[in-house]
């Protein structure tokens, strides 16, 4: 069976390649820092299960120290110039989109085919992880296609990949760090404290305000934790179940589903959701690292208000 573990190995090998090529990149004054940083990521992906919890802990501290104290720079792997790219684009035409579509097409068609054919019961891929496995397969197919078609130098995938990962920098690791922070918040009982505090601000006997505090609480706590998954059990325990569902008799499907979506409005408004909000700022080389968050507020706030309204209207018909 092809499991997630295979993908960790693939990604780990890639980061190991980035580390080795970083070490040899004399255009980057901080090349050893980059080599160490991507080397630790490779170690985590290749051997994270072998070095124990404490070993992983020190690995994370190492990543944070390298990034936090400015040891990671930006390499300049040789690539094509803007003019060369225009020339290639003119020469290759729209065929250039085909390899770009291999990854989404493999993931999309593969997932559908796998789930709606006898293949799905063959246990070829780890359950529920088939899209990830197919994503990896798509990547390999795309690389192969580009090599056969355009014959770039052999190290091109690693060098071009390194160019992009260096432009993202530590922001590539931050989402995983934040997920780990969420686990510590939970272990320290932050959820119970927040739940208790939220409950204490609810005025007695007002259904609308209770629904509003539930929705706003979901959004705010999601902003703190960086994802709605951590917020939902807390807000459900504090307000959703005891007040909205049990006391006021609200429809649990509406309270649950729309409450979660109110949390998603919070995800749009927080730098803590780094993979959605900070990583694209790095990927698109924005000047303002909070630019994406700011652009989302005007969608998130009205949507949050409407979600509260949906709970108020639809759950209590």
């Amino acid at each position: 069976m092809i499991t997630l573990h295979w993908l960790y190995l693939l990604a780990g090998a890639m980061f190991a390649g980035f580390a080795i090529l970083s070490a040899g990149d004399r255009s980057n004054a901080k090349r050893w820092g980059n080599a160490a940083f991507w080397g630790l990521m490779a170690l985590s992906l290749l051997g994270g299960d072998l070095i124990g919890d404490l070993g992983n802990g020190f690995l994370v501290l190492g990543l944070a120290a390298l990034a936090g104290f400015g040891f990671v720079g930006r390499g300049q792997p040789a690539t094509t110039s803007e003019a060369e790219r225009e020339a290639w684009s003119a020469r290759l035409g729209n065929k250039l989109f085909l390899p770009a579509l291999i990854i989404p097409a493999t993931a999309l068609l593969g997932t559908l085919l796998y789930n709606y054919s006898p293949l799905g019961s063959s246990g070829l891929f780890e359950a529920k992880r088939e899209t990830y496995v197919l994503l990896g397969l798509g990547v390999l197919l795309a690389i192969l296609t580009i090599f056969v078609w355009l014959k770039p130098p052999p190290l091109t995938p690693l060098q071009e990949g390194r160019r992009l990962i260096d432009s993202i920098g530590w922001a590539a690791v931050l989402p995983q760090m934040l997920a780990a922070l969420g686990v510590l918040f939970a272990a320290a009982g932050v959820g119970d404290i927040i739940g208790g505090l939220t409950r204490s601000v609810i005025p007695e006997g007002s259904l609308f305000l209770t629904a509003a505090v539930f929705g706003i609480g979901m959004a705010l706590f999601t902003m703190v934790m960086g994802n709605a998954f951590a917020a939902f059990p807390v807000m459900a325990a504090a307000i959703g179940v005891p007040l909205l569902i049990q006391d006021y008799g609200g429809n649990p499907a509406v309270v649950g589903a729309v409450g979660m979506l109110a949390g998603f409005c919070g995800t749009l408004m927080t730098p803590m959701a780094a993979n959605f909000n900070l990583v694209p700022a790095a990927l698109l080389e924005l000047k303002d690292q909070y630019g994406v968050v700011k652009a989302q507020v005007a969608t998130a706030l009205p949507l949050l208000a409407l979600n509260i309204l949906i709970i108020y209207v639809a759950a209590f018909r």
């Binding site: 997920a179 780990a180 652009a295 949507l303």
Partner: protein, 223 residues
Amino acid sequence: MNYWPLLGILLVVAGFALRLNPMLVVTVAALATGLLAGLDPLAVIATFGKAFNDNRIIAIVWIVLPVIGMLERFGLQQRAATLIRSMRKATTGKLLLLYLGYRQLTAAIGLHSTAGQAQTVRPLVAPMALAAAEKEHGELDEETAETVKELAAATDNVGLFFGEDIFFAIGSIVLIQATLATYGIDLAPLQLAVWAIPTAILAFLIHGARLLLLDRRLRRSGK
């Protein structure tokens, strides 16, 4: 009740507000939170390390970078821009609106990880949106180009968040179901998923309206 663990949240908020390096902010907040909750220092580090290791799936998405980088080398972004310039009716707003709908629909049938910021926004959607904006507006000043790129990234997020919950086998639906089940409330995933539809439509309308407003702004401020 012991309110000290909340100090960790305060550290995070202050750190982000002061724009300190987020990697350091998060690490310090994690260590402080664990210590304030009464764990011994090594246990805090081990908990942090285990959680990091358990979340390695987040790092998998980066395997697309070599492909995206290689295609950029051969002019993919330039090609995407050329294609948009050749479509006379394409505007930034309409293009992003189309992508919003595509993202919501594919996410709604469980194909949420087939597109994304690294997979589609950087190589295709953002350069196309910029090219369409230039057509409408003439050469873009830096601020306008930033706005267009920010909205391209935002559109991917909005489409993903308010599409994926319509798919009943997604993590968040499972979590809602499992949480409510602990209170003896038994719901089928499908009962929950249908209630994601009204919000999905509203998200399309609100964000879509903003995208079309962007078109108007680009036209007015342009040539």
